[in-house]
């Protein structure tokens, strides 16, 4: 391994897992499910953007 990875064993479709972001956010006062759902949708676009440069 040449350097420290931020995340390991990441599933496809994920850049930054919700679980990591949730810890950073601390207490969520409203609908956590809504925040998670929208986070994951945009995170997926980030994933597709990255892999777009490889899958061509």
């Amino acid at each position: 391994m040449s350097r420290e990875l931020t995340f390991k064993n990441m599933p496809p479709g994920v850049c930054v897992p919700w679980e990591a972001k949730e810890k950073e956010l601390g207490e969520i006062k409203g609908d956590a499910g809504l925040i998670r759902e929208q986070w994951e949708k945009l995170d997926l676009f980030g994933y597709l953007y990255l892999w777009n440069w490889v899958q061509r």
Partner: protein, 391 residues
């Protein structure tokens, strides 16, 4: 409008029937045109359609005005040159920038992934792409955190989002205005091709097969779920139309049979089976020659692929795969470029008489149709398909 919807429904029904090994009213005609062919027919220059996305979309419309097509891939070119300029792509040369205005783009193949990258790639390929690969292949991203890199990342992501949205709108407009259906929805690759095309390159991967075969196998296994996911994500859940899988390094004779069986086939099979588990069929776009591998390909689940014949032995493909998978292709690109319209018609008639009689066949050229194809020969192919393809 209603007429176009009805026409599109008829075409979709025909296409689906063939893919399901049934006999439709006639053989569907699916032609996989390059952006360069479409551009030539449209009257735009290559530079114009590479750089101006509106002209890229319009080029397909202009082609649809001239040719009676049932389906299209989408806007003319897959790649928008401006998006590549925004990030400083080292690996593509475009008309009007580093090439003259009427020269097809060129891919500059290098082993952009180094042998020492395997461990990081295997541990987390997504992070490796973001932190190592993108800065390495893009001049504007070379210094992560710099102003240039930050601006390039923003422009690259925004540009791709724009391109996705415009591409979707274009496909919808072709259906609405011309009744043409998409020939493919979604794209993915054989894991070996993901590794060998843009990452290690042909020279890199061929050395790896001998110098670090276990690392290659680990990387291929890591790619399997990503390639299934990428295919379904780019298909946006569609399961009606086939996913496009252009197959490159698995063609004969890039590898010995035992290498193909060890390195190429197992993970490709997993990806196709994974897609099929979601109901997504793969267009197995077997560029060049695949004759020695037909028996292995026959192991795939029935109807899970459309086996596309370029220069694979058509008799053998029909014998081994016919009745199990829909077959497509086989009209030689050389004939479309250098033959006469009469020769094209004769070839199509023989092809349909021999291989399409029981259904499960789609008429197409052997490979992607480049700008050397004569428009009159494309017309001849379509006319012959309509005349001789009726069941």
């Amino acid at each position: 409008m209603a007429d176009m919807e009805k026409l599109a429904e008829e075409r979709k029904k025909r296409y689906l029937a063939a893919m399901n090994l049934e006999k439709p009213d006639r053989v569907p005609i699916r032609l996989n045109f390059s952006g360069e062919f479409i551009t030539k027919v449209s009257g735009y220059s290559f530079q114009e359609t590479y750089y101006d996305w509106e002209k890229n979309v319009d080029a397909t419309r202009k082609m649809l005005d001239r040719l009676d097509l049932e389906m299209v891939v989408g806007a003319a070119n897959l790649w928008w040159a401006t998006l590549h300029d925004a990030v400083g792509a080292k690996y593509l040369r475009f008309a009007g920038r580093d090439l003259d205005e009427e020269t097809m783009f060129q891919y500059v193949e290098e082993p952009y992934m180094l042998p020492e990258d395997y461990d990081d790639f295997i541990a987390n390929p997504t992070e490796w792409i973001a932190t190592t690969y993108l800065p390495r292949i893009h001049t504007d991203l070379a210094e992560p955190g710099s102003y240039r890199a930050s601006a390039a990342l923003i422009k690259g992501a925004f540009g791709l989002a724009q391109q996705f949205a415009a591409g979707g709108e274009a496909t919808a407009s072709y259906l609405r205005d011309y009744g043409v259906i998409p020939s493919i929805v979604g794209i993915s690759k054989a894991p070996f091709d993901t590794l060998a095309d843009t990452l290690r390159g042909l020279s890199g991967i061929m050395l790896d097969l001998y110098q670090r075969p276990e690392k290659v196998k680990e990387a291929l296994e890591v790619l399997v779920p990503h390639n299934i996911f990428y295919g379904m994500a780019t298909a946006q859940g569609d399961t009606d139309f086939p996913l496009f899988m252009p197959l490159h390094r698995g063609a004969y004779p890039f590898m010995k049979m035992e290498q193909w069986e060890q390195f190429y086939w197992p993970t490709l099979k997993q990806v196709i089976e994974g897609l099929w588990s979601y109901g997504k069929r793969t267009m197995f776009y077997a560029e060049n020659i695949w004759t020695p591998y037909l028996e292995k390909i026959a192991e795939l689940p029935e109807k899970s692929i459309i086996f596309h014949v370029d220069q694979t032995d058509m008799d053998k493909a029909f014998e081994v795969l016919g009745g199990r998978f829909c077959l497509s292709g086989n009209v030689p690109n050389s004939l479309l470029a250098f033959g006469t319209a009469e020769e094209v018609k004769d070839y199509v008639k023989r092809l349909l008489d021999k291989y399409a009689r029981d259904g499960g066949f789609i008429l197409d050229a052997g490979a992607v149709i480049l700008d050397d194809a004569k428009e009159e020969n494309i017309r001849a192919l379509i006319e012959a398909g309509i005349e001789y393809g009726v069941y």
